[in-house]
Symmetry: C2
Subunit: 454 residues, 2 copies
C-alpha cells in the first residue's frame, strides 16, 4: 500500500529528462534503467513520419519506465503516485479533487496486435505523466520543428499534481455487440463482466453508456487531468477514439481516513460509511479480485461501475429541510444519522420516535444502502460532482458522477436493486452507465493488460 504515502517531486520542466533517482525508482538500478518508448505506430499517428525518429528507443526494448513499481522520493513540492504495482493507482489512492474520465471505442479494423501495442503505448505515456513528465522526453518543445510536438504542452511547468491514470476493459472489448471476437479474448471474459441490468428509474442515454476501454484520470489540478486524457486520446489515434467523457470536481466520497468527508451537490456529506483504503481487510474482501475468483488474469484488479446521475437540483432545493434529511437519513449539518450521535456514529435502524415511527425512514438512502441491510456488501465509491452548464430551461445540468470499485459487479447490482425504493429517486435520474474490468497494475517490465493477453 505504498501508494498511500504521498511523496513529492518538483514541477516538470520543458525538455527535462528525469533521472531514475528522480523517478524514485527504489527497485531500479541506479544507472539508466531500460525504457520502453512509444511505438512507431503511436509516433506516426501523433506526428507523421518526420517525428518517428524523435524518441530514442521508440518501439525498442521492453521494460516500462522505472516509475512503474515504486513511489517517488520526497524531494519536491507535489504529490506523486506510482503508476504500476500490484494494483493500479487511482482506486484506493486518496481521492484527488478533479476527474477527467473517458470511455473509448476501439476503431474498426484494429487488430489484436495493434490493441496490445495501444495498451503498451498508453502504459508508457501514463507511467511518465503520473511522474510529472511529458509523454516523451522533450516531447512538447524539443522535437523537430518540422514535426508536430509529441506532447501537447499545456502541462509544462505543472507538477504531477497527484495524477493517477487507471485503465479498464468493457464487456464489448471481449465480445462486440454483434458477437464478434475481434481480439481473440472472448473466452477470457469474466462471466460477471456483462452489461449492467436495467434498474428501476434508469433513463440512460446512448451517448453516455458503454465503451470498450476506459481511462480515469484524477489529479489535484484539472489541467493535468485534461492533459492526460488529451494526450492518451492522441496516442490512440487510428486505434481508439473517445465514445463519451466526463469532467468532475470536488470528490464526493472519502477513500481514506485522512480525508474530511466532502459534500455532494445535495449539500450533504457523502461517503461517511465508504470503504477506506486503511481498512486493509475490507479492501481485500470487497475491492480486489482474488485468486480463485472468476478470471485469473484479473486477480489484483477490480470492477469499476460508473453511473452519471443527474440531480434535479431545483426540485431538491425547494424541498423542506426535514424532507431532505428524511431522504438522506442523516442531518444536513453534522451528517449524523437521524437516530442520533455524530457523523461516524453507527445508524440505529430500530430506533423509533414518539409516534413509533422509525427515526431513520424505511426509504432513506442511508438505510437502503447500508452494509447491515445488504449482508455486509460494501463498495469503494470514488465519485465526483459535475456541472455541465445548464439546460434549455436555465436549470443547472448537474449531479453526481458515481464511480465505485468492487470485487464483483454483483455488489453494485445488489446495492442498486436495494435502492429501487430509495426516497432519493424522486430527485435524481440515472442518465449514463458503464462497467469495466480493471486489470491489476503493470509489473516492472510490463504494461496494463499484460495478464489478459499473456
Amino acid at each position: 500500500m505504498t501508494e498511500h504515502t504521498p511523496p513529492t517531486t518538483p514541477a516538470r520542466e520543458a525538455g527535462s529528462t528525469p533521472t531514475a533517482a528522480e523517478l524514485g525508482a527504489a527497485s531500479a538500478p541506479p544507472s539508466d534503467p531500460p525504457r520502453r518508448g512509444l511505438s512507431r505506430r503511436a509516433l506516426f499517428g501523433l506526428a507523421g513520419a518526420g517525428a518517428a525518429g524523435l524518441a530514442a528507443g521508440a518501439g525498442a526494448t521492453a521494460a516500462i519506465t522505472a516509475a512503474v513499481s515504486a513511489p517517488a522520493s520526497a524531494t519536491g513540492v507535489t504529490t506523486v503516485y506510482p503508476f504500476g504495482g500490484a494494483h493500479q493507482s487511482g482506486i484506493t489512492t486518496p481521492a484527488q479533487d478533479r476527474l477527467h474520465f473517458a470511455a473509448y471505442d476501439v476503431s474498426a479494423g484494429t487488430t489484436r496486435e495493434e490493441l496490445i501495442e495501444l495498451l503498451q503505448d498508453w502504459s508508457v505515456a501514463a507511467a511518465r505523466m503520473t511522474q510529472g513528465q511529458e509523454v516523451a522526453d522533450g516531447g512538447a518543445v524539443d522535437g523537430s520543428p518540422l514535426a508536430p510536438p509529441v506532447d501537447t504542452g499545456e502541462a509544462l511547468g505543472l507538477p504531477a499534481s497527484g495524477l493517477t491514470i487507471t485503465f479498464g476493459f468493457g464487456p464489448t472489448l471481449f465480445t462486440a455487440e454483434d458477437g464478434t471476437d475481434r481480439f481473440g479474448i472472448a473466452d477470457r471474459r469474466p462471466a460477471e463482466l456483462e452489461k449492467l441490468p436495467r434498474f428501476t428509474g434508469d433513463n440512460l442515454q446512448a451517448g453516455l453508456t458503454g465503451g470498450d476501454l476506459c481511462i480515469q484520470a484524477c489529479a489535484d489540478d484539472p489541467q493535468v487531468a485534461v492533459h492526460a486524457i488529451r494526450n492518451l486520446s492522441r496516442i490512440a489515434f487510428g486505434r481508439a477514439s473517445i465514445r463519451w467523457s466526463q469532467l468532475g470536481f470536488g470528490r464526493t466520497s472519502s477513500t481514506s481516513t485522512s480525508q474530511v468527508t466532502p459534500r455532494n451537490l445535495f449539500g450533504f456529506k457523502d461517503g461517511t460509511a465508504n470503504v477506506k483504503s486503511e481498512e486493509t481487510k475490507t479492501v481485500e474482501e470487497q475491492v480486489w479480485v482474488q485468486d480463485g475468483d472468476s478470471a485469473a488474469w484479473l486477480s489484483g484488479g477490480s470492477y469499476l461501475v460508473v453511473r452519471k446521475i443527474r440531480m434535479i437540483i431545483e426540485t431538491w432545493d425547494r424541498a423542506q429541510l426535514q424532507e431532505q434529511e428524511r431522504v438522506i437519513g442523516r442531518s444536513k449539518g453534522e451528517g449524523a444519522p437521524l437516530s442520533g450521535g455524530k457523523e461516524f456514529t453507527e445508524p440505529d435502524f430500530d430506533a423509533v420516535g414518539a409516534t413509533d415511527q422509525p427515526l431513520i425512514d424505511k426509504h432513506s438512502h442511508v438505510r437502503l444502502a447500508h452494509p447491515t441491510q445488504l449482508k455486509g456488501t460494501k463498495l469503494l465509491r470514488r465519485g465526483y460532482n459535475f456541472v455541465d452548464g445548464n439546460d434549455d430551461l436555465g436549470r443547472l445540468n448537474a449531479g453526481l458522477f458515481f464511480m465505485s470499485y468492487q470485487r464483483s459487479p454483483k455488489q453494485f447490482i445488489d446495492v442498486q436493486r436495494a435502492l429501487a425504493t430509495d426516497a432519493m429517486n424522486e430527485y435524481i435520474k440515472h442518465v449514463g452507465a458503464a462497467i469495466f474490468a480493471v486489470p491489476p497494475g503493470a509489473s516492472k517490465d510490463g504494461w496494463v493488460g499484460e495478464t489478459l493477453f499473456a
Copy 2:
C-alpha cells in the same frame, strides 16, 4: 488596491455568525453593524411562506454587510477578497483558478422595482459568500425543518477560497430586443454598450450569446464558484433565469506580476503582455471607466467582453512545432518572442532572418494583438480554459473562454478587427459572445447597480 493583499479567514461553519471583526470591517463600528437581509420576495421564492421569517431583518434597514468595503483580517487559512469598494472585485484581482460564469435573462413581467430588489438581494448574498459565509445566517441547516434551506449547503465547511462575484449589465437590460424600455433605463445606456459587431470568422450560436445580466464567479475551488452561481440563480427565481453559462479552469492570463504566466490549451504561455493590476496607471487608462466617459453612473466600472472560442484541438495537435510557433509568434517552451530573448523581452517586429523574412510572422497572433501595433490599445484579459466533454466524433470540445475588461468596448473591437488575418484563425472558432457594462463596486451601505438606478 487593497484587494491585492490576500487576507485569510477560517472556513465557514454550519450556522456560524461571523462578527464584524471576522468580516474584517475596518471601517465598520465594532458593535453589530446594520445589515440588509434578503428581501421577502427572495425568501419567498427560495423557501415558500414558511421561511419568510427566517432571516432577521429581512427586507429591513439598508446598509449592506460590513464585508463591502474592507479586506478581511489575516487570521485564518484562505484568501478572502472584499465584495464592495470603488471597483468590483474579480477584475484586477489576481486571477483565481476556477470560473463559473452565467448570463441571465430578466423574466417577463419583472418590474423596475423587482429588478432593483434582485440586485440588492444579489449584493447581500454575494457580500456574504465572498466572505466565506452562507447566503443567510444558518441558511443551510438551522432554519425551520418545515422550510427549504435558504442556502443549498454544498459549501459548508469550505473556506471562502478567494471567491469573487462580479456583476454586469447587458445592452438588452436597457433596451430589449424589441425596443422596449422595460425598466426605465433606456436613456442611461452608454452609447458604447451595444451588441458586438460581427467579426471575420464568427460562428456564434444563439445559446451562447447575449444576456440581460451576467455574473462572473471566480474561486480557487470549483465547488465554491458553483455554489455561488447556484445560490444566486435560486435567489433570482421568478425574476431572472440563466440564459447560458460556462465553467472554466486554469486561468489563461496572469493579471498580477505575482503570478506565473500559465499555458492555454494550445500549450503556449498566454497573457505575457497582459495588463497587470500592479500597473496602476495603465489600469486607470485602459480598464476603468473614468469621469467624463460616456456614462457617469459607470465611472469606476468597466466593460466586459466574453467570447467562447472553441479550439480545433486535433488540427492544432497535428501542426508542426514550427507552424505552431509561427502562428503564436513565440517559442513554445520559454514563450520568448521569435525575435529572440526571454519571455518578457519585448518583441522586435522589425527583426528579419537570413532570408529577409520577418522573424515574427506578419500574421502571428503576438504581432497583430500587440499594443504597439494598435496605437497602445490594451485589454485586461481574464480568460479560462474549458473542456465541455467531447463532440460526436470523439474530439474534445475544448478551448478558451475569453474574457477581457476594458474602459471602452472600442478597445476590444479594435483588437479583434486587427486579428482578422490572424494565422490562429485556422485553429479556432468563435462560438459565443456577449458584452456587459460592469458597474463600480457597491458602496458601504449600497449595492451593485445603485448608481444606475439612482
